[in-house]
Amino acid sequence: MDRKIRVLVAKPGLDGHDRGAKVVAAALRDAGMEVIYTGLHQSPEAIVRTALQEDVDVIALSVLSGAHDTLFRRVMDLLAKEGVEDVLVTGGGIIPPEDAEALATIGVGRLFGPGTPTGEIAAYIADWARNHRGLKA
C-alpha cells in the first residue's frame, strides 16, 4: 500500500490574494503530502464537494477577510450534512484567539496565524494523520 496524506488547501470567500495559502501548500508538498490547491474565491459548497471527490484527509482553509467564523461554520455544517466526521478541518489567517477557541468547540482543529513556521503546520497535520489514520508523511 502506498498511502499518502491528502490535503485540500482552499481559500473561501472574497480574499484578494493567496500568497500565504500557496506558501503553506508548497510546504506541505515538501513534507511529502499530496496537496490539492484550488485557488481563490471558493464557496463552502464547492470546497466540501472538492474534499469529497478528492477523498482528502485534511481540509486547510485560509481566511484573511475576517469572515472566518461564518466560513468555517458553514464548511463544518456541510461536512456534517454529508456525514463526514473523520476529516481534519484546520487553517489559518487573521483569526483572533477567542474566535479560534469558539471554532474549536464545533470541531475545528488548530488555526495558525501570521508568522507561523510552515514546519509547525506540516508537523501538526502529520501528527494528526499518524494518530487518526496510522499514516506517516
Binding site: M1, D2, R3, K4, A25, A26, L28, R29, D30, A31, G32, M33, E34, V35, I36, Y37, T38, G39, H41, Q42, S43, E45, A46, I47, R49, T50, L52, Q53, E54, D55, E82, G83, V84, A137
Partner: protein
C-alpha cells in the same frame, strides 16, 4: 476473504454517490488489496464511456480548455468526469495538484466529478493506477472521461493508451515545429490544438504543425487536424469539439477503436503481471530478487536467466495466494 463492506461501496459507486466513488478511487491509488475484488466485480460494467486525453506542456492552457469542453458536454446533457494528473516529487513523494485552480467553475456543478492524481513515481505521464481509476469512473456510468496530463513528449505517452482520442495542446511559446517533431508528441496526437491563438506566432506554429503532419501522411487513415483556440475567451472550442467528434467517428467507422482497445488491454495485462510479480517478490521479503541481483551484478548469471528464475519462483509460490 470476507467481502463484507464491499457491496455497499460498489452499489454506491454504481449510483454515482461521491463518497463511495471517491473512496474506491483512493483504494485504487493506494493499491489497497481490496481493490482487486472491486475491479473484478465492476470491470464488466466498463466500456461505455468515451475517453478523451489532453496533454501538452505546462502552461499551455489544458485545464482552461478542459473547463470549456466539459461545459459543452454538460450542456449536451452528458455526465462528465475529469482525472487530472500532476507529477509527484521524486525527492519527497509530495505533490502539488493545482489543476482545479483553472477548473473552479466545475466545482460548482454537482454533476461533474473531478479527481486530482499524483504520478507517485510512475514515469509515463499518468499514475500507475490511472487506468483502474478510469475503469471505476466508467463503471459509475459517466458518459465522458477526460484525462489531463502534463506531457513534454518523449516518455509521457501513457495517455495514448488510456484515451480513445488524444488532444495535444501547444501554444506559440512552445517553440517551433521542430521541437514538436522531436518530442514524440506528434505521434500520439489525434487532434492538435494551438491555444492562446491570439498571441504572436500562432499562425506560424499552425503552418509548421500542418507541414509536419503532412509529412507523416495519414496513419490509420486519419490525418490529425490542427485547431486554433483561445480557451479563456472560448474561441475555437466549437471547432475543437467537432474535430474530436470527427476522430471518434473515424475510430468507429474504421473499426480502429477495437484495435486501440486491444492494444490497451494487452499493455495493461503486461503491466499488471509485472506489478504482481514485484508484489509477490515483496511478500517473500525480496530475498530471491536480491540474491539474483548479486549474481547478475557479479556476472555469474545473465539477466535473462535471472528473469526466468524469478518467473519460475513466482509461479510456484503464487496462484490463488491472495485471490
Amino acid at each position: 476473504m470476507n467481502q463484507d463492506g464491499l457491496t455497499p461501496l460498489i452499489e454506491g459507486l454504481v449510483e454515482r454517490r461521491t463518497k463511495a466513488l471517491a473512496r474506491l478511487i483512493s483504494w485504487a491509488e493506494n493499491q489497497d488489496p481490496r481493490i482487486d475484488e472491486v475491479l473484478r466485480r465492476l470491470y464488466p460494467r466498463t466500456g461505455g464511456a468515451t475517453r478523451l486525453g489532453v496533454t501538452g506542456p505546462p502552461g499551455a492552457g489544458k485545464s482552461t480548455l478542459i473547463t470549456e469542453l466539459v461545459r459543452a458536454y454538460r450542456n449536451a446533457g452528458e455526465r462528465v468526469a475529469v482525472v487530472a494528473v500532476d507529477p509527484s516529487s521524486p525527492f519527497t513523494g509530495g505533490a502539488l495538484l493545482g489543476d482545479r485552480v483553472r477548473m473552479g467553475d466545475l466545482s460548482e456543478d454537482p454533476d461533474v466529478f473531478v479527481r486530482s492524481m499524483a504520478t507517485r513515481g510512475s514515469l509515463g505521464g499518468l499514475a500507475a493506477a490511472t487506468a483502474d481509476v478510469l475503469d471505476l469512473l466508467d463503471a459509475a456510468g459517466f458518459d465522458r472521461l477526460v484525462i489531463e496530463t502534463v506531457g513534454v513528449g518523449q516518455v509521457e505517452l501513457d495517455v495514448a493508451l488510456a484515451a480513445d482520442t488524444v488532444l495535444v495542446v501547444l501554444v506559440p511559446e512552445s517553440g517551433d515545429g521542430v521541437q514538436a517533431m522531436k518530442a514524440g508528441l506528434m505521434e500520439i496526437g489525434n487532434v492538435f490544438v494551438v491555444n492562446k491563438s491570439d498571441r504572436d506566432g500562432a499562425g506560424v506554429l499552425v503552418r509548421e504543425l500542418e507541414g509536419i503532419l503532412a509529412l507523416s501522411g495519414s496513419p490509420g487513415g486519419w490525418r490529425p487536424p490542427v485547431v486554433e483556440t483561445s480557451a479563456v475567451s472560448g474561441i475555437g472550442v466549437e471547432a475543437l469539439l467537432a474535430a474530436a467528434a470527427g476522430h471518434r467517428k473515424h475510430l468507429r467507422d474504421t473499426g480502429t477503436i477495437e484495435t486501440g482497445r486491444r492494444r490497451t488491454a494487452r499493455s495493461r495485462i503486461l503491466q499488471e503481471t509485472r506489478r504482481m510479480l514485484l508484489e509477490r517478490e515483496d511478500a517473500r521479503g525480496g530475498d530471491a530478487l536480491e540474491a539474483l541481483v548479486d549474481r547478475v551484478a557479479g556476472r555469474r548469471l545473465s539477466p535473462r536467466e535471472a528473469a526466468a528464475e524469478l518467473l519460475q519462483a513466482a509461479g510456484s509460490t503464487g496462484g490463488g495466494g491472495k485471490d
